[in-house]
Structures are given as C-alpha cells and as structure tokens.
Symmetry: C2
Subunit: 287 residues, 2 copies
C-alpha cells in the first residue's frame, strides 16, 4: 500500500473533496482560511548531516509551500516537536522561527514531547480572498504547464552534488510566487515536492485531461551529467517549486519567474516528449 492509496481511504471517511489538495480551504467570514499540516521525521525526511536549525527550517518550509500552492498568504504556524534529545529543541525552534520570519508568518505555538525518533509536525494557517484561491483542480486542455524553479536540485544535493546541497537542506518555498499566481488567477497549482512526474499524475487525478511536457523545455540542475539531470528533474523529490497551469493569455505572470514546460491535453495521460511515463516519484510505502 502506498500513501496515495491511504489518502483515498481518508477521503472515504472525511469526504473525498477534502483530499484533493495539500491544504484544506475553509470559508471563514468573507475570506478563506487555508490550513495544512505536515509530519517529518528523522529517518525518512531529514538527510544525514542536516543541522537542527535546518530541520526546523525545512519543517516550516514544506508547510509554507503547501499554503503557497493555493495562493494563500501565510499567517500563523504551529510546531509540534517530538524530541529524541532535549538539546535539539533550541536549534529546531530557531530554524522554524527564522523560516517563518523570512516568509511573513508568525510562529505562535506548538507542543513539545519526548520521542524515540525526532518527529516534527508543522501546521500552517494562511488566508486568501476566495477569488484568489487556486486548487489542483481547474486545468483545461490548451493550458500551459509551467514551473517556478529547476526540478531535481534537491535530488542532486542528496546525490552528493555540493552546489545543490542547500536546495536539499534549506528549501525556499515560493510563497511570493504563489500569492502572485493566485491573484493572476492561474487555473491549477501544486508544489512538486514529491517530484515533477508524480505531481503531473496528481493533477491528472483531479482534472479531466492530460499533461504533456517536453524534455528540452525543462530546466535541469547544473553540474550534473545530462541523462542523470533529466531523470532527477522528472522523478526527484524535495523541491518546493510551484507547478501550475494557466491559459496562454495569462502567461507570463508579472513578477513571477517561471518557464513553460508543456501543455494540458484533452486526452488523459502524462507524457514526456509524446511518450507516456510511469508514475514514479516520492512515495511512502507500507507492507
């Protein structure tokens, strides 16, 4: 069983519309609250050599990226920390606070617990005007497929390419870009944290169309042999760039650095250079 199947099971219990996005979008008076929670823990999420400050930073960054992917502005953040060693708390909280400050959120509280394995759960609360909210659902055939950064960088960092180590350990969520893309009214959006190809599959799951991208248009991590860079860009996880679709008339979006990598098609399928690709990327699996 993989985590996407488990999430479907959750949908049967709390409502299938609740699991279409990384965030819940909640009506709250005249605005929308956007909330997201993410669990990270040492063995699966924190690469070897990561400092406590970086673990705190990353925990917040992944949640801010989820909020950004809906076009929401981040407001508040809570951190629940399960500590294997009490001495780690200070570095973790400083990293978390610094990431919040950098992106305009406020770290307002949390919980501290002892745990056999360092486990950090961050919960973010953002807000947006209802008309600026972007979901995964909304792509239509003819839309452009765009990305705000170079996919594969974190994977390159994980594979030992020193110039990409920071992308792996101190990811920079595209908060400003998400807000601008929300205001511009792009048709669908998500972050590529599980990998580019699997994210296109995620978009296909909730959109009645296909996603066709072209190799030569995809930016690749520098300093990596071409074939490997190509594979990292398609299947590597850990990048917090935004993948979005928009009508050709909306592109480019003022103030947002992005590249067009393909087009939304009427026919279902995820294609690279016209050829269907397997659904592969970052997946938790359970036996």
């Amino acid at each position: 069983m993989d985590d996407r199947r488990l999430v479907k099971l959750v949908g049967e219990i709390i409502g299938s519309e609740r699991i279409e996005d990384d965030c819940a979008v909640l009506p709250f008076g005249e605005i929308c609250l956007v909330v997201s929670t993410d669990m990270l823990h040492e063995t699966t999420d924190f690469p070897e050599g990561m400092t406590d400050w970086q673990a705190g930073w990353m925990s917040v960054a992944v949640t801010l990226s989820d909020l950004a992917s809906t076009g929401a502005e981040p407001r508040y953040l809570l951190l629940a920390v399960g500590l294997d060693d009490a001495n780690r708390l200070s570095g973790i909280m400083q990293g978390a606070r610094d990431c919040c400050v950098k992106y305009g959120a406020e770290l307002v509280g949390g919980d501290v617990d002892s745990h056999s394995e360092l486990t950090i759960v961050s919960t973010g609360i953002g807000s947006a005007a209802p008309e600026n909210i972007v979901r995964r659902k909304g792509s239509v055939p003819g839309d452009l497929i765009c990305i705000t950064g170079t996919p594969g960088c974190a994977e390159a960092g994980l594979s030992g390419y020193a110039e990409h180590r920071e992308a792996l350990l101190e990811p920079k969520p595209h908060v400003r870009e998400g807000v601008l893309l929300g205001r511009a009214g792009v048709s669908a959006m998500m972050d590529v944290s599980d990998g580019l190809v699997i994210s296109l599959y995620d978009l296909m799951d909730v959109n009645d169309c296909g996603f066709s991208i072209e190799s030569e248009k995809i930016p690749l991590p520098e300093g990596v042999p071409a074939d490997l860079a190509h594979s990292m860009a398609l299947y590597g996880g850990g990048d917090f760039y935004l993948l979005f679709t928009c009508s050709p008339s909306q592109y480019p979006v003022s103030g947002v650095d992005a590249v067009v990598i393909g087009e939304v098609t009427a026919e279902s399928g995820v294609l690279v250079d016209g050829v269907p690709v397997e659904k592969r990327g970052y997946l938790h699996t359970w036996e």
Copy 2:
C-alpha cells in the same frame, strides 16, 4: 530537564507570552482564532488495550479540550498520523471523525506518514469573540477555584478500576462547558490533563497569587479506597475537565456542572488543606 523547562526555552525564541496557555489566541478580523496542536504517541500516550478508534478519538479530544479551556468554539481539526501499520489508519480516522462530529468540529485534512511508532498530532482551530476568551492568567485573590468534573478518574482507569476505563480511553472534553464559562467571563481557565495540583502550579506561574484547595470539597473517583482516590485526584493525569477561577458573584454559572474546591489567595503557593504540596503530576522528562 522536564517539558515545562523546555517550554520556557521555546518562549525565549517565540516570545514568552506565547507559552502561557495551551492555545495561541490570534486576532483575525473582528474575532479571535484559537489554535492548539498536540502530539501523542503509542509508548507514552496510548494505554495498552486501547483500540485504534480510541486512539483517534483521544487525539482529537485532547485538542478540543485545549480549545475549550479558552472558551472557544471548535471549528476545524487537522490530523497528522505517523503509522507503524497502514491497517490502523481507518480506525484512527473514524475515531477522530466521530469525536469531531460529537463536539461540532469538522475534520478537514491532515497528513499520513510511515513511522516506527504510532504518532498522532492533532491541530485544532476554534474561534471566539475577543471578550469571551479566557486565559490562564486572570485570577485574583478571593476568586473561587472550581472544577467541572471528578479528577483522578483516568488514573483510576489506568490502575485497573474497570468503571473508570472509559474515562481513560475515551475522554470527553468539556467543550460546551468551556464555551459557557467563556461567555460568563470567568477569570482564568485551563484543563487538568496533567493533573490537578500541577495545573494549580501552572496557574500560579502566570498569576500573582496562590491557590488553596480543600480535600473534602474535591470530588473523588468512585469505587477506589479513599486515600488512593485522594492521591489520584490530586496527582493523576489524563482527565479533561476544566479548572477555572471566578468571582463568588459569578458562581454558579448557568448550565455548567461544577464544584467549588477552594479559593485564590493573595499569598503565593499551592495549598491542600492549608499545607503546601509538591509540584507533581504528568511531566515528560529528558535526561
């Protein structure tokens, strides 16, 4: 090092006013958002024999209790679940959903992860009019000390008293009571989840006064020998009743079942029958 010392360290990083309560109270337009997050995991929080449904229920209940202790109405809940076994997810989510439904909250999302040890982090979002918010801070000498249930029941359940097993495994947060006490404007409030005496110490930490309670006024778990029941009531954890202080003129509060167990004093100290008691209850400790 214990968790209260760690929380102080957190206060130095995110602001000391942020750690006075179990919840963060956040201005949001004309109302207040009240948010809280709690981490529970198998070895320390889920008693042997607990079902997955009960683990899900309890995880939500502790968070709803935190919200209730500020007078907030629960609105939304997120659950991050780290699973040692994927087959447990269904029961956990059903228990969480049922607890939400029972108390008027909506389970809107979360995260699913694999983990060596079952770990559940629930995050609650409530709301209240600013004038109805109650904090830990606010007690003044002469106030009555009151409690909305019988402390020690969960501890009795943990010790094998079958009639108290449900109090341990399926705690009932006093959501309705919290909202009514908030509207009534009681002076201070918190839940007694870590134990009655340690909660009085927590109140003393943020209030410039003392707390004196009388044994004979404290309701005791039934079916337990008197001395043991007394000790369980003072020091046992796991009960989700509300401890509050209010002026004598405010008592009783319409619609709220509570008993007066003592009085707020001008002089600092936590006294039982006029004698100072040690600060003891549920504390995580780290070496």
